[in-house]
Symmetry: C2
Subunit: 427 residues, 2 copies
């Protein structure tokens, strides 16, 4: 077997990857190159010398390092961008004295930093600790900014707060840590290199300065690009393909479900989206103790390839009516039935999550699970009705603990020379 | 710019990557392919379709996923193997009743699991949570096993404990957490995919069963392969190239410094090594506040490219005698001077560390730094004399906190059909 990876950096730079209709994505590049390169280039049989011998040879910047996601655009990056291997989610609270002016200055600094780092350029005048990414490529870095409810009261903009930011309802299975929930400002960072992602987090925290203070921060990960030959749906730490039934950019209703329309309301949220974050700990020891067949019954899909238990493959629509041996092929309390748009009045959201593993708890169980992030044009037509139903009748819920929660308004992208949130803060 | 990555999986499988003289390594493969593929294969300009459209297309298994490190061999893997992007370090304590028989059975289970997972094969009969790596390639997974002092008393083998396992001396700058130090058994896991690494950790913990209990566990990361076009020395979270002056496999004294000889003593440690682990927290806020020139003076190297301040490039040997403008080019307390073999009677060790970032402390400072791992044939000719000197006179030490420590005897590799430690446990 001989496999190839190739990318043309300049071409990648010219094509925004966060706009589905014309986007050239890293995975797309990989896929195309893999096919085009089938003629093969056998390497290795005659190669020799130990690892250290190559220390001073330049290492090629593969598509992993070279892939750049543009910061400027109609929409913010990090929403439809392919999931990266490393992620940080962080919430900040505005300082009492920051006000609207301080918030505007902060968003300008942050936007400027995001633009530069996403282009693989250093932050001018930066000091050392924040420059660990200095000789890496952009590595698909994305930085996404959002506003929580507190942001509006602290900036005197309460009258412009969207109704979509109404607090999420309580769910019976919630066990939320308030100190690690909520927040005035949200930053979502993703990159395919761990140091590039860390550098972005450190720089943004430093640029917060006196204007805002870190409230909570979680780190996560996903499969590395190129580690698997299988479809690109990510597996979560339960071993399940996660995100199979996500809305797809080519779906007719994709934009309507995920994004606020360009002429939507409030006007400063045009082309924005609402992000629901949940830290969902998985009871992995309990889950691992379940036989495979029971796990599949809980989910409603085959574990190996994600095919619904009603038949077909991962991409086949689940047939909720199908019966097998007198009972439904997909059980009444199977996760995919309870979560399905068909059983929720069409409610749907774009899930784009990272796995987390924060070591082990005192009882020896892993402190691990999903940094769940769901994107929708309106939480009341996305996360809320789905979670309400899952909360009552999902067989999966006994293996999950929702430990932190937040909801953010994520405005549209910034045009060249502008910053994220400018239409709100200066409008 | 067009870059290429290529590997021949079969060729890679035939060449053990952990034996320097004949090893074919991932980085080597990348380097060779990069040169050979310079003719270029432009991709991307005409490609289209959003990310989700590629969901069901096979994604090529690049060298990242396909690279396999052999488990069996004269030496254990994970010592001279190129550093992976994800790592877990874990220590276990033997159960009081396990004894020598229980320990032998555990090491047999663990070795068998390591062999299978490193080959990219599932563990037979495994339950779900541990199979998150099921559709990834081996992704350069390595699993390395070691024994701490307690292992010998609990197995009735105290008479066979090497003198090299004498407790490390106390250092004045130590602030060790005993609960996160030491341990009877050590497992080092590395992989270029986060889920493959997690799966290995979970499976080994499960296979410990009643025989051993997790004592501590840390997770770390390094640059992703392909993220940088620069030399392969890793940067740490201070932004420094770290490991430049490591002994190199082609050095005449490499084997002697790093490995116990094949006819060494005790005989069960033939071709083994001793691993010193330190969790070194970095005071990154303090470090970031230092001007670049001061940082470089503290280290004794240029930050951008790792060149010693006495001149040359990263690979140039530091000239400790060189003076510039009346004072030494490399300061008297510069880290590289104090740590240099020349100033430590030739003492040297192979450093192979992961960065860690466990969120933020209550004071807002990052809980981040280095999971330092150093390999040597004898800690008294490696870590101990160097650390003793650093402890007294290293300008860098005021930015570091040693918070956990351990020392393990890492026996030689297992032959086909055998398990790691068999010559000790059945000899």
């Amino acid at each position: 077997m001989s496999t190839h990876t190739s990318t043309d950096t300049d071409a990648a730079r010219q094509h925004p990857v966060d706009e589905p209709p014309s986007g050239v994505t890293r995975r797309r590049l990989l896929g195309t190159a893999g096919a085009a390169g089938a003629a093969g280039l056998a390497v290795g049989a005659g190669a020799s010398a130990g690892w250290a011998a190559t220390r001073s040879e330049p290492e090629p910047l593969t598509s992993l390092g070279a892939t750049r996601v543009p910061f400027h655009g109609t929409r913010q990056p990090g929403i439809t961008t392919p999931l990266q291997a490393h992620g940080h989610l962080a919430a900040f609270d505005l300082a009492p004295g920051a006000g609207r002016t301080g918030a505007a200055a902060l968003l300008r600094r942050w936007s400027s930093a995001a633009e530069r780092l996403m282009a693989g350029e250093p932050w001018p005048g930066e000091r050392a600790g924040a420059d660990v990414g200095r000789d890496a490529g952009p590595s698909s870095l994305t930085v996404t900014f959002g506003f929580g409810r507190g942001f509006f009261s602290r900036t005197g903009l309460r009258s412009r707060m969207p109704r979509e930011l109404a607090p999420l309802p309580d769910f019976s299975s919630d066990a939320l840590d308030r100190a690690r929930s909520g927040g005035d400002l949200w930053v979502q960072i993703g990159a395919d290199d761990g140091l590039v992602a860390f550098q972005a987090l450190r720089l943004l925290q430093r640029l917060a300065g006196e204007a805002a203070r870190l409230r909570w921060q979680f780190s996560g990960f996903n499969r590395s690009p190129g580690a698997t030959a299988h479809p690109t749906t990510m597996r979560n730490l339960m071993g399940q393909l996660d995100g199979t039934n996500n809305p797809k950019p080519q779906d007719e209703e994709f934009d309507e479900r995920v994004f606020v329309p360009g002429d939507g309301s409030p006007s400063w949220m045009a082309n924005g989206s609402y992000a629901v974050f949940r830290r969902i700990r998985m009871l992995l020891d309990d889950w691992d103790a379940e036989p495979l067949r029971d796990q599949e019954r809980v989910i409603g899909r085959r574990k190996s390839d994600g095919a619904p238990l009603s038949g077909g493959d991962e991409d086949t629509a689940p047939d909720l009516e199908r019966r097998r041996g007198g009972s439904p092929a997909i059980a009444a309390d199977a996760h995919i039935r309870v979560a399905a748009p068909e059983t929720n009045g069409g409610a749907a959201m774009l899930r784009r999550s990272f796995s987390f593993h924060d070591g082990f708890r005192d009882d020896g169980a892993p402190d691990a699970g999903l940094l769940f992030v769901a994107w929708q044009a309106d939480p009341l037509r996305g996360f809320v009705p789905v979670q309400r139903k899952l909360d009552r009748g999902d067989a999966l819920s006994r293996f999950l603990r929702h430990e932190a929660s937040a909801l953010f308004a994520v405005p549209g992208g910034a045009a060249e020379g502008e910053y994220v949130g400018q239409p709100l803060l200066e409008g």
